[in-house]
């Protein structure tokens, strides 16, 4: 089910709110959990079993690790000082065992549903190459909805307990609701236990204010998706499906269009998730922070799909770069390469791990792996060149803080990101390279060509105005101005005029109905 279907947004959500409010505060969390699980079952049927197994596994592992920790503390009180280290080590091993088992259990499901066929296809190719007369059977099956999202949430919970950041939850309803809260199932964001669990469990009444405030955010998400993303889909479909019929500039436009479309679709969905969260008094973490204002690829990824980036940073980058082996490597590298390039060596190894996994997380395919490696390379190059660029600018008298230079940085960063997203969208690596090749080999420009991509002049005008609107909103947010908060302080007439304008803009200028094909939820397959 798409969040952008009117039935979901204007029938299902009000229905959920009414049912939720009808129950007393104590029961509301259980009601929300039941609705979330029903939603899951509606989309994924019997595969609901897997999310339930994941919840039970992290619940038991959390309690197990907590019990081990408690036991350790009790034993430590009774042993001599010189034995304490050995006791600590022994209990750490036990805790680690529980953690590792839990991770294997959950990742096994993820592997089975998302990566097994990719693995099987490639192993079969190898077996064929070496003329081994056997092969692995490819199994066709549907994956549980949002398995990549809820698995990472589940793992962050047990990892945080292991690192001592949070206490294990004894209440399985609270924990289950944190993992299965229905708006987050489709496209995230990947919240942490400490972000949403308590607020969800609290069962705050949906008030008139929280309901209307939430809907404002939902409407903004609808505007991004219907006015911009679905309109850009015309160009994207047209060119990506038959790129050989188009020349370089059209291919470049389609790549730019795809990246903006992806941003509008994904961030629009997150706006809806945040809006629904606000209704229930839950602050779902933001997943986007004006990514195209970033000055380099590294910063871009701290503003785009933030929750995924933070997950990899906390649970892959830091554990790898702070491991004993890496610390030793850093020490040696510092001596030989100095204070800038030395730490870069171990950092790069951790970064490579992050981006390989990031690519794989996005999908089981070589083009996704390449997508990850491409960003690794861009970030690494950025880090390596940074001192030289700084020196060069200083010599040339360029002030890197000036607006002109900042715009130059954002444009350069955007072009690099556009190319990265080409690998993400193209059906295979070969197609992505073929498109890149054609983009440079067949480069020419005619204004009329813009109108051969499926959109007419009126669509372009709506698109430009839509993008200007989103850009202004981005600037305001960058300056820390909360637009909704400001609107809520205005007089009723002004407020209502703004709401009516937004709704009518979506209704009239939305790219839906005959002649338009809506963008499928891009991240929903993850």
């Amino acid at each position: 089910m798409s969040f952008f279907s009117p039935v979901f947004a204007f029938v299902f959500i009000p229905f959920v709110v009414i049912v939720y409010n009808l129950f007393p505060k104590k029961l509301r969390a259980a009601v929300l959990l039941a609705i979330s699980l029903l939603f899951f079952a509606f989309v994924s049927r019997w595969l609901i079993l897997y999310i339930i197994l994941s919840i039970i596994s992290i619940y038991l592992s959390g309690l197990g690790m907590q019990a081990i920790e408690k036991k350790k503390k009790e034993v430590l009180k009774t042993v001599e000082k010189d034995e304490k280290k050995a006791v600590k080590e022994s209990y750490k091993k036990k805790k680690k065992f529980v953690l590792v088992m839990c991770i294997i259990f959950n990742v096994a499901f993820l592997f089975m549903f998302k990566y097994f066929n990719f693995f099987a296809v490639n192993v079969n190719l190898l077996l064929e190459y070496f003329k081994v007369g056997r092969s692995i059977t490819i199994v066709k099956h549907l994956a549980p909805i949002g398995i990549s999202f809820y698995t990472l949430e589940a793992l962050s919970y047990v990892l945080d307990i292991y690192y001592g950041k949070i206490e294990a939850d004894k209440n399985i309803i609270r924990l289950a609701l944190y993992v299965a809260f229905f708006p987050q199932l489709l496209e995230g964001p990947i919240a942490r236990y400490q972000d949403t669990a308590e607020a969800l469990y609290e069962g705050k009444k949906v008030t008139f204010e929280s309901f209307t405030f939430g809907y404002q955010k939902i409407l903004y998400g609808f505007a991004k998706k219907l006015i911009i993303a679905d309109r850009l889909n015309i160009i994207v479909k047209e060119v990506f499906e038959d790129f050989n019929s188009y020349n370089g500039i059209s291919i470049f436009i389609s790549i730019v269009a795809y990246t903006i479309m992806l941003y509008m679709e994904f961030s629009g969905t997150i706006d809806i998730v945040i809006g629904i969260g606000e209704m229930f008094g839950v602050k779902v973490p933001e997943n986007f922070r004006q990514p195209f204002f970033a000055k380099n690829v590294s910063e871009f990824w701290t503003r785009w799909h933030i929750s995924l980036g933070l997950w990899f940073k906390d649970y892959i980058f830091y554990p790898v770069s702070l491991s004993k082996t890496m610390k030793n490597l850093t020490g040696k590298a510092k001596k030989k390469l100095g204070n800038h390039y030395g730490p870069l060596v171990s950092g790069s190894v951790a970064l490579l791990a992050v981006w390989l996994l990031n690519g794989l997380w996005h999908g089981a395919g070589w083009h996704y792996i390449f997508f990850g490696l491409y960003h690794f390379f861009m970030i690494l190059m950025g880090n390596i060149w940074e001192p030289s660029v700084a020196k060069a600018c200083e010599k040339m008298g360029i002030d890197r803080k000036k607006k002109g230079y900042r715009i130059f940085q954002s444009v350069k960063m955007s072009i690099l990101v556009f190319i990265g997203e080409l690998f993400f969208r193209a059906p295979s690596l070969a197609v992505a390279f073929a498109m890149l090749k054609r983009m440079f080999n067949a480069f020419s420009f005619r204004v009329g060509e813009l109108f051969e991509l499926g959109m007419d002049a009126r669509d372009y005008v709506v698109l430009v105005f839509g993008l200007i609107g989103i850009f202004i909103m981005g600037i305001l947010r960058e300056k820390g101005i909360d637009v909704r908060e400001n609107i809520s302080k205005k007089k009723l007439v002004t407020r209502w005029l703004i709401y009516y304008a937004l709704i009518l803009l979506i209704l009239i200028f939305g790219a839906y109905g005959q002649g338009y094909v809506p963008v499928d939820p891009i991240y929903a397959d993850f």
């Binding site: 709401y499 009518l504 005959q514």
Partner: protein, 316 residues
């Protein structure tokens, strides 16, 4: 409690004003002719009511098979008859009945064709979201006509003219690998039945046609996925029992559909070239009935000549 009442009143006023706004904008965006006369509700669901009164000779009711297989403009060009595809995606009998009822309020067609595939569709099985979308579409017409804002920003004075008359023009080809006739046997494995409530709606439609002096014809357009011998036999029995004519293009293969080039989706629906063949046959059938008049050259039907010019341009 007082706050609660205040919020409820506020919400009602907000929604009321919103409805007024939407209605107002609908008048600007809906096809001109019938907004005032028939009300926005009917214009929204049934495009045919925006046609000039008593100007349509024949209508075709049915699902996507109709709007992909029958092009009224082809019939107009060859025979001068005015026809209209009153079709909706996955149309069910109750909706077909509603459509017919709305159409004959302003039109007096001589012929009504019902594409028989809808007799086999269970109205109960229509997904809830489609039912909701249908209702919403009826009450908020700008959802359907919202893109008409573009018509205010064009130099084309015919931009408001309905050119395709319900037909959806598709030139894409996805060849079918199935044999020309074997598909009828293959599909026999599927269990099908005509539900009693569909028969009831069908009887009501017959009654409506009799009252309005309209000849009703059953029709099955070529489809390798939707049609079978079982369906043919059941509809044939039904048609015979009601004394109706039944044209099944799947049995009488006079059309000689080339399933390698004349289908848009591996044999389920025809594309433009398939539709040309079906439309030509139907035009000839209409001529044989002797019920209709050739309107070509009649100044009252000038807009059809203009529409055909635009239609032809589109085909280039």
């Amino acid at each position: 409690m007082r706050k609660c009442v205040k919020n409820a009143i506020k919400s009602i006023i907000f929604l009321l004003l919103f409805c007024i706004l939407v209605e107002g904008i609908s008048i600007i965006l809906l096809p001109f002719d019938k907004v005032k006369k028939y009300g926005i509700y009917k214009t929204s669901a049934y495009e045919i009511v925006a046609e000039k009164d008593n100007s349509i000779d024949a209508i075709f009711l049915g699902d996507s098979l109709v709007y992909s297989s029958i092009s009224p403009m082809e019939i107009w060009n060859s025979y001068g008859y005015t026809s209209y595809d009153c079709a909706q995606p996955a149309q069910i009998m109750p909706y077909a009945y509603d459509y017919l009822e709305a159409a004959i309020e302003s039109q007096h067609p001589k012929l009504v064709f019902i594409e028989a595939n809808i007799l086999f569709r269970d109205p109960e099985k229509l997904p809830l979201y489609k039912k909701v979308a249908y209702r919403i579409g009826n009450y908020i017409p700008i959802i359907k006509y919202h893109s008409n804002w573009k018509k205010y920003f064009t130099k084309d004075k015919n931009s408001w003219l309905n050119v395709d008359k319900g037909y959806i023009y598709i030139t894409g080809i996805k060849p079918s690998k199935k044999d020309k006739l074997n598909y009828m046997h293959d599909n026999d494995e599927l269990e099908v039945s005509i539900l009693p409530e569909n028969i009831e709606y069908f009887d009501n439609m017959i009654k409506l046609c009799e009252e309005n002096d309209i000849e009703l014809v059953l029709l099955a357009v070529p489809s390798q996925k939707s049609w079978s011998f079982t369906k043919y036999s059941m509809v044939k029995l039904l048609a015979d029992s009601k004394g109706l004519e039944f044209i099944d293009f799947n049995i009488d293969n006079d059309l000689d559909i080339d399933w390698a080039t004349e289908t848009k989706d591996k044999g389920n629906h025809l594309n433009y070239w398939g539709a040309v063949k079906v439309s030509a046959y139907l035009g000839e059938y209409m001529e044989k009935t002797g019920l209709l008049t050739d309107h070509r050259g009649d100044s009252e039907y000038k807009s059809w000549t203009t529409a055909y010019g635009i239609y032809k341009e589109k085909l280039k």
